[in-house]
Structures are given as C-alpha cells and as structure tokens.
C-alpha cells in the first residue's frame, strides 16, 4: 500500500496521559486506531477495517507536529553519541545536554545535522515550544474538577497507508473528534491529506541498508521478535491503560496495562509488532490495541 500524510488541524484538545488534569500535546497511533475502530463500528464496517489494519503493509505512525509545513520527527533516543574528543569545555557540554533533553521533536530536514551535532538546539527548542499552548479549564460547583487543554497553533500530522476505507473513517472522525471530553467541544479537527515528501518516503522504505532504525510508532514487538530486537537498543517505556469503552458491559472495566516502546526508540533490528487484544477478564468482545511499527532509517 502506498503511503500518505494525514494533517490534522485541531483547535482545542484534551489528550489525557493518565489523568484528567493533564494533557499530552500529541497522540499515539493506538489512540487514533481505537477512535477509527469505534467509528467503523458505527458504520458497521469493523470487520473490513480490522482486516485492512492487520494486513502486513498497513502502517500508522504517532502524531508529530508540522511547523510551517515542515514535518517534525521524534528525537532519536540515545543519539547523537557524544564522542570523547568533544569534552573540552565541560560547561558547554552540560548546557547542550540539558537543551537536548528538552527537545522532543526535530524537523525532518535537519535530522542529519542533529545527528552530526551541527544543528542549533536552542533554536529548535524555541520552535517546538511555539506550536501549542497548555491551559487548565476549571469547572466549579459542587464537584469541581480541572481539565488540561492543549490549544494548537500549528497542525499535527501522521503517516498512514493509502486506503479508501481508512480515508472514509478519517473523514467521519473529523466530526466525532479525537481525545477526551469530545462531547463538550474538544478534539474535533479538519483533515487534509497530502502526499509524502520524497525524502521522507525514502527513509521509510524497507530497502535501506542502514543499520539503525528509529520507530515512529509507540509499539511493541511480538513475543518471538522481542529477543532479536532487544540487542543494542535505546528505548523509553510508556504505559497505556485505562477503561475500556463498551456499550455491552455494565460497570466500566480496566483494560490490561501495556508497556510499549515510545516513538523515537532506536533499534538495530526491526520488528513488525501486532494488534494486541487487551480485553479485561470475561469481556464479551475484543479490545484492540494497535502496536504495529513503522521505522525510519537514520544515517549515523
């Protein structure tokens, strides 16, 4: 399947990351997949969609910012490696390390510079901080609560496969929204579908002979892939959990917790991942968690 760039123009969203009071500024592929699956259920096309998603060449990436039309990528975890000869000015090294820590996204055309340590880190941090605004909405009354809201100034994008059913679901999802507090006005978006920039497409192709791969999807290898992919790797773990949405069970039940590799983790061996069923015990229907991977080849 050919690939495309889906650009999401959000206004205000709540992407919960564990609590109602906080919000993440992007979303992982499994959040989008679950929203699309629930949308497919409404249209009665869930079986078709699952079949499409389980096919080997179907890809879905996490969402990353697109600032002034330039797609950003996650920071490769563990890179660049600091060479010994660079340790001449220790103060400067510490300062660079701190700035680098604050950096989460890198424009894809500056990735090579970043790996060669020639990119202007302070500039990148400034750019990255300009794409959203975090605020807190306080609901007063007998039972007060707070909602973390992210307001976007720039769009988010993700890489998907080109598929008619997927595009139909995305089209429908615009009016349902993505994220939390959807019925009170958060998470709706305008969608634009664009062609993938050529340079980006080349880095995503399977034919690359480079030895280092960065994952663009928060994903998890299958059990038999685990051992191979966990050699010479740099990763961060992130937890995905919460209540399973269902109109067929009584009280809400918790999904099985999943710990996955964050987007930006780097591996020398790629894995394919799968769509896991994480339904709670004695649950009447499967609860899918999208954990398939998409890799970007890094030139180190």
């Amino acid at each position: 399947m050919k690939r495309q760039l889906c650009v999401f123009h959000f206004k205000n969203v709540h992407f919960g990351n564990g609590t109602l009071e906080s919000s993440a500024e992007t979303f992982s592929a499994s959040r989008l997949f679950s929203a699309l699956f629930l949308e497919a259920l409404k249209l009665g096309k869930q079986a078709d969609f699952l079949k499409v998603a389980q096919s080997a060449d179907f890809v879905l990436s996490d969402a990353f910012p697109m600032i002034d039309g330039v797609p950003f990528l996650p920071k490769p975890i563990g890179y660049p490696k600091f060479e010994k000869q660079n340790f001449t000015d220790l103060k400067k090294v510490r300062r660079t390390a701190k700035t680098s820590k604050k950096l989460a996204f890198i424009p894809f055309d500056e990735m090579t510079d970043y790996l060669k340590q020639t990119a202007d880190l302070a500039d990148l941090v400034k750019l990255q901080n300009s794409f959203f605004n975090l605020s807190y909405l306080t609901k007063k009354g007998q039972d007060p609560y707070q909602v973390g809201i992210v307001s976007f100034k720039q769009p988010l994008y993700c890489i998907t496969s080109q598929n008619d059913l997927l595009n139909e679901l995305l089209e429908s999802l615009q009016y349902s929204g993505l994220g939390g507090k959807r019925t009170s006005g958060y998470g709706s978006f305008e969608l634009r579908i664009k062609a993938l920039p050529k340079e980006l497409e080349e880095h995503l192709s399977d034919h690359n002979t480079n030895t280092l791969w960065m994952s663009l999807t928060t994903s998890l290898p299958q059990v038999d892939e685990m051992k191979k992919s966990l050699t010479d790797e740099n990763y961060l773990l992130t937890r995905e959990g919460g209540f399973a949405y269902s109109e067929q069970t009584g009280s809400p039940l918790r999904k099985q917790d999943m710990y996955k590799f964050k987007a930006g983790s780097t591996f020398t061996h790629r894995y394919s991942g799968q769509i896991f069923d994480i339904r709670p015990q004695d649950f009447p229907h499967p609860v899918w968690n999208f954990s398939k991977s998409l890799f970007y080849s890094l030139e180190v």
Partner: protein, 222 residues
C-alpha cells in the same frame, strides 16, 4: 447501519447582554479584575466552552422533559440521555453506557473587527457592582469581567443520525433546548441580567453520509 450520517447544526450566538463565564483565577495579578472570564489561550479573546452550553441545555431540558425530578443526570428521561449520554441506564439490565448523539463545540468570537469598528478597545468590559449591608449600610464593591453585548460567537453541534425513526423527536428536543436557552441565561449571575443570548442563522447540513437535511433546516428556521 447504512443510514449512519452526521448532521452539523450551526449558527451564530449573539450576546444580548454581557456574559460572564468564570475562568480559573489562578493567574490573575493583584489590581486586576476579581472574577475574570474564561478566554481562548491562543488569541486571548472571550470564548464560550462547549461544556457550558451542553450543561446548561441539558439542565433546562431536564426541567421540561423529566416526569419526576432526577437526582443525578443518569436518571434523566431516556429522550435526554439518548442525546447527551449517560454512564449507566442503557441495555436490558439498565447498567450500560448510553452513548450520546450530540457533540458540542467551543464557540469562538467571530466579529472582532466589527466590534473594533464600533470603537471598542478591549473585547471585555469590567462591571462595577456593590453589596450594601442592611444594618450598617456599608458598601462592599466588587468587579466582574464580562464579554461585551453584541459579540457574536460561532455555534456548532454535530448530531449523529443512526435511527431514522427517532430523528423527528431528537430534533424537537434540540430546537426546544435552543428556545429554552434563549429565554434563560448562559454563564453566571443570570438573575442580575447577565448572559442573555440569541441564536441567529441556524441551519442543518449533512457533513457525512447521505441524510436529507432539508426538513431539519426548516424546523430550525420555524
């Protein structure tokens, strides 16, 4: 399920009197207004959160449609929970989630330029008010921020159509809700004249699927 569609009901909310929807006062400086209103963090203009519209409309409809007063929103009339949702009360055993069929939207200020032309420098006013003690007759002043009269906000609600037999009843409830909102108030201090709103140019448009929206548009106009 071939008749699944999404209908966007849109229009304009015009303020007939100043509107005060309180924001969090965590960041107010000393000397600023005591009770600020909620604003859009990007543009710093007044905003009407979708949650305020949803809550107020549901509360008004509950008074009109509930046979018996409901203690909590989950016990609302089924016609209301069908539109606004409930965390229990669905299914055969009455213990399942009821999915809501309405999606509200934050309302942003539309006529910034027009207000500017009328000579406004800020888009909110500060109203000075007083409390007078009945025994000592001492005044205790307070300041309240309001979005100015004449401000226009966009109004959007997405209605999900999945059962054609229920569209007529659902639409009746929505139009009733909008009428009730016009005769009531939005936001705080409504009994002192705040928060009178008018809906203008209401239309229904099918944005997904192939539902015929002509009849709904007529209902909204009528």
């Amino acid at each position: 399920m071939s008749n699944f569609s999404k209908v966007e009901i849109s229009g304009i909310i015009e303020l007939a009197s100043g509107l005060h929807i309180g924001g969090s006062s965590a960041f107010t400086a000393i000397g600023a207004v005591d009770s600020p209103i909620i604003k859009d963090p990007v543009t710093n203009l007044p905003v009407i959160p979708g949650s305020s519209l949803k809550g107020k409309m549901r509360c008004l409809l509950a008074k009109a449609y509930n046979q018996t007063p409901a203690k909590d929103p989950n016990q609302d009339d089924p016609r209301i929970t069908r539109l606004f949702g409930a965390s229990t009360g669905g299914g055969e055993k009455q213990d399942q989630i009821v999915k809501g069929h309405l999606l509200f939207c934050d309302s942003f200020l539309l006529n910034k330029e027009q207000l500017k032309e009328r000579g406004l420098r800020t888009y909110t006013e500060t109203k000075f008010e007083n409390t007078i003690n009945r025994i000592t007759a001492v005044a205790k002043p307070r300041q309240i921020e309001r979005a100015v009269r004449g401000s226009q906000f966009n109004f959007e609600v997405v209605y999900e159509v999945d059962n054609l037999d229920l569209v007529q009843t659902d639409m009746q409830i929505i139009t009733d809700g909008l009428k009730l909102l016009e005769s009531d108030y939005l936001g705080g201090s409504g009994s002192r004249g705040y928060g009178k709103i008018r809906f203008k140019d209401l239309t229904a448009e099918t944005v997904f699927g192939d539902f015929d929206d002509a009849q709904l548009s007529q209902m909204l106009e009528g």
